[in-house]
C-alpha cells in the first residue's frame, strides 16, 4: 500500500487535497473509515479486501469548498455515488480529488479470509473492477470467482409471490426493524438536511417502532431512493436486524431502467431521472 500512501502524501503536500477520506486498519485487522488531516496521518491509510465502507457518505459532512479539495479513496462501485451526487448538484467534480483504487472484491465478514463465499453481496453483480474516472489510480485488480447473487435469487422468489404473500414477507422483515436509522446514516444518497422521519411538525412518519410504522419508514425510504440508489449495499451491510433493504432499491432501479432506460450514477453529466420530464416518458405503468 506504499503506492496509496505515497499518492495521498503527495496530494496533501502539493495542495491537491486538503485532507483524505480513506481507510485505516484497526487492531482487529479490519478496515474502517479514517480521515487523514495531514501528511503524517497519511501513513495510517491503507486498502485491501476489507475496505467495505462506501466512503462517499462522508462527503456530506466534510464538504467545505473554502477549505480546499476533498481527497477521497474510492472503489469503482463507490464512484457511482460520486457520479450521482454530482448529478444531483450535491458536490462539484472540481471540489474533489479522487484517488481511485482498482478493486478485486471486498469481504462480507472481515473476520474471515476473502473467498468466493465471503464476498459482499454488491460484488456479486459488479462488473467494474477499475474506476471509470479518477485523478489518480492505485492498486491492481485481480479476477475473482463470483458466487451466486443471493439477492437476485431472493428477488425472483418475491416476484413470483402473490401480493398477499409479498406483504407478509415484508411485514415479517419490517417487524424486525429497530428504527436505528443506520440504513439512512450510512447511505451516500440519504443527505436531506432534515429527514422526513425527523420532522415533528407535522410528524409524517410515526416514530414508534410498530410493524406499521416500521413499514411506513422503510417504504418511504425506498420511494425516496427510487431511481437514485446506486447499489452500494451499505444499508444491507449495517442493518442490525438483517433486513434485506437493498432489495427494494434494486427493484426500483430495475423498474427505472426498464421504463426509462436510466441507471443513476453511471454518468455524472446525465440529467437525473426524477429531475427530468420528457413527453415520451412511459406512463402506462402508473396506476
Amino acid at each position: 500500500m506504499d503506492q496509496l500512501r505515497s499518492v495521498c502524501r503527495q496530494a496533501i503536500s502539493e495542495n491537491k487535497a486538503a485532507f483524505i477520506i480513506g481507510y485505516t486498519e484497526d487492531k482487529h485487522h479490519h478496515l474502517k473509515p479514517f480521515i487523514a488531516h495531514n501528511v503524517e496521518e497519511t501513513e495510517k491509510l491503507t486498502f485491501n479486501c476489507n475496505a467495505v465502507n462506501n466512503l462517499a457518505v462522508f462527503i456530506h459532512r466534510f464538504h467545505n469548498p473554502s477549505q480546499g479539495k476533498i481527497g477521497i479513496v474510492l472503489k469503482p462501485c463507490d464512484l457511482k455515488a460520486i457520479n450521482a451526487l454530482v448529478q444531483e448538484n450535491r458536490v462539484k467534480r472540481e471540489d474533489l480529488y479522487v484517488i481511485g483504487v482498482n478493486c478485486s472484491g471486498v469481504v462480507k465478514d472481515q473476520n474471515k479470509e476473502f473467498s468466493k463465499e465471503n464476498t459482499q453481496i454488491k460484488c456479486r453483480s459488479c462488473a467494474s473492477k477499475t474506476p471509470a474516472w479518477f485523478d489518480v489510480v492505485v492498486g491492481e485488480s485481480a479476477e475473482f470467482e463470483l458466487p451466486e447473487d443471493d439477492m437476485a435469487i431472493l428477488m425472483k422468489q418475491i416476484d413470483e409471490m402473490t401480493p398477499e404473500q409479498r406483504l407478509e414477507f415484508w411485514n415479517a422483515e419490517f417487524e424486525k426493524c429497530l428504527k436505528c436509522y443506520a440504513c439512512r446514516e450510512v447511505c451516500p444518497m440519504c443527505y436531506c438536511e432534515q429527514c422526513i422521519a425527523d420532522k415533528t411538525e407535522p410528524r409524517w412518519i410515526e416514530s414508534s417502532s410498530t410493524t406499521r410504522a416500521n413499514f411506513t419508514w422503510n417504504m418511504i425510504r425506498a420511494f425516496h431512493q427510487a431511481g437514485r440508489c446506486i447499489g452500494c449495499g451499505e444499508c444491507d451491510r449495517v442493518c442490525p436486524a438483517d433486513i434485506p433493504l437493498s432489495l427494494l432499491n434494486r427493484k426500483m432501479g430495475m423498474v427505472a431502467f426498464k421504463e426509462f432506460g436510466y441507471r443513476h450514477g453511471t454518468d455524472m453529466n446525465a440529467p437525473t431521472l426524477i429531475g427530468t420530464f420528457s413527453t415520451s416518458d412511459h406512463e402506462e405503468f402508473i396506476r
Binding site: 484497526d26 487492531k27 482487529h28 479490519h30 478496515l31 474502517k32 473509515p33 479514517f34 480521515i35 465502507n53 457518505v57 462522508f58 424486525k176 429497530l178 428504527k179 436505528c180 436509522y181 443506520a182 439512512r184 446514516e185 450510512v186 425527523d198 415533528t200 410528524r203 410515526e206 416514530s207 414508534s208 417502532s209 410498530t210 410504522a213 451499505e234 451491510r237 449495517v238 442490525p240 436486524a241 438483517d242
Partner: protein, 342 residues
Amino acid sequence: MKLMKIEKGNLSKLMEHLKKDNFRVIGVTPDGKRFSEKFDETLNFMQSDTPPTSISFKEHFFLKTEALFYYKNNNGAIDLKEPVIDERKTVVIGARPCDTASLPILSKVFNWDYADDFFNRRVENSIIIGMKCNYQDDYCFCNEVGLSQNSEKGSDIFLIPDGDAFIAKTITDKGNKFIEEFAIFFEEYTGNPPAENKNGHDEKKFDYESVKKWLDNNFEHKFWDEAGETCLSCGQCAFVCPTCHCFDIVDEQCGTCAGVRAKNWDACQFSLFTKHASGHNPRDSREKRYRQRISHKFKYYNDKFSEILCTGCGRCSRGCPVSTDILELLEEIDQIAHSTTN
C-alpha cells in the same frame, strides 16, 4: 444456593412443557442474532463458546415501543384506556452474563425518581436462566467492567455446562421455587462443586478506575474530536446495547379521533436527541454526542447509581457501521490517563 443437574434433552423438554403451560419462553433465534419467542427449539444456542447475539435481550423487558395509554375523543370528553400487558410468566434461556447483568443495572434507573411499572412487572414476572460463557474475542471486556464469564448477576438460575448436561445453580428464591416446581426435569447433582467464581482475569485490558478519573476531569479534550469523527450518528450502538435505556415519549394517532401515548427507544447519537424546542441543540455535533455516550456509560451512571452502564458485551463495536470500537477508545483513554499522571 443449591446445585442441581439438568440433561440437555430435559432442558428441551422443560422449555416445551413451559410453552404448553402458557409461559412466554424466550431463547436465541436459529441465526443466533436475537432473543425471541421464535427461538431455536433444538437449543443449539446452549453452547457457551459462541459469540453473543447481535441484539441483546433488552427488547423483551424495555420494549422498543411501549403504549403507556390510549385516548379517544368521545364527544368532547376524553376516554382513556390502559394498555394490555402480556402478563404471562416469562422464562429467558441462554442469556450470557453480559446480558443478564443488564437487568439489575437498568433497574436502578427505572426505579429512581419514578418506578417504571412496565419494566418492573416484566422483570418480576420472569425467570432468567443465565449461562456461563466461554467465549472471548477482541471486542469483549466483561472483566474490565466488574463482571466475568461466571458472573451470576441478574440470573435466577445459572447454568454451567457439564458434558451433555448443565449444573444448575439457584441464585434467587425465584429460581429456587422454579426448580422445585419443575423438579421432574432436574436431578440431584452429586459431582464436585464447580470451580470458585473467580471474578475476572489478572490482566485487564484497561483500568476502569483510571478511565473514570480521566472522564471526571476531561470533558474538554482533543481526544473527543477524534473519537467521534467518523461516527455516522445512527442508533445501532444504543439499540443493540443491553444497558442503553433512553426513551422518547410521543403522542401518535391510533384509530379515528384516537391516539396512543407511547414510550419509544431513543439514542443519544441521534441529532434530534437533545434538540430544544427553541432550536438550540447543546449537543450539535457528532463529537459531542459521542462524548455523551462514553461519559454516560462510564461516568454519569456510576456517579448517580454506583453502576457502570456497560456489561462489556462488545455488541456496539461488532455491529458499528464504521467499526468504532468502544474497547479501543477506553484503552486509549486509559493510556492517556496514565501518560498524564506519570
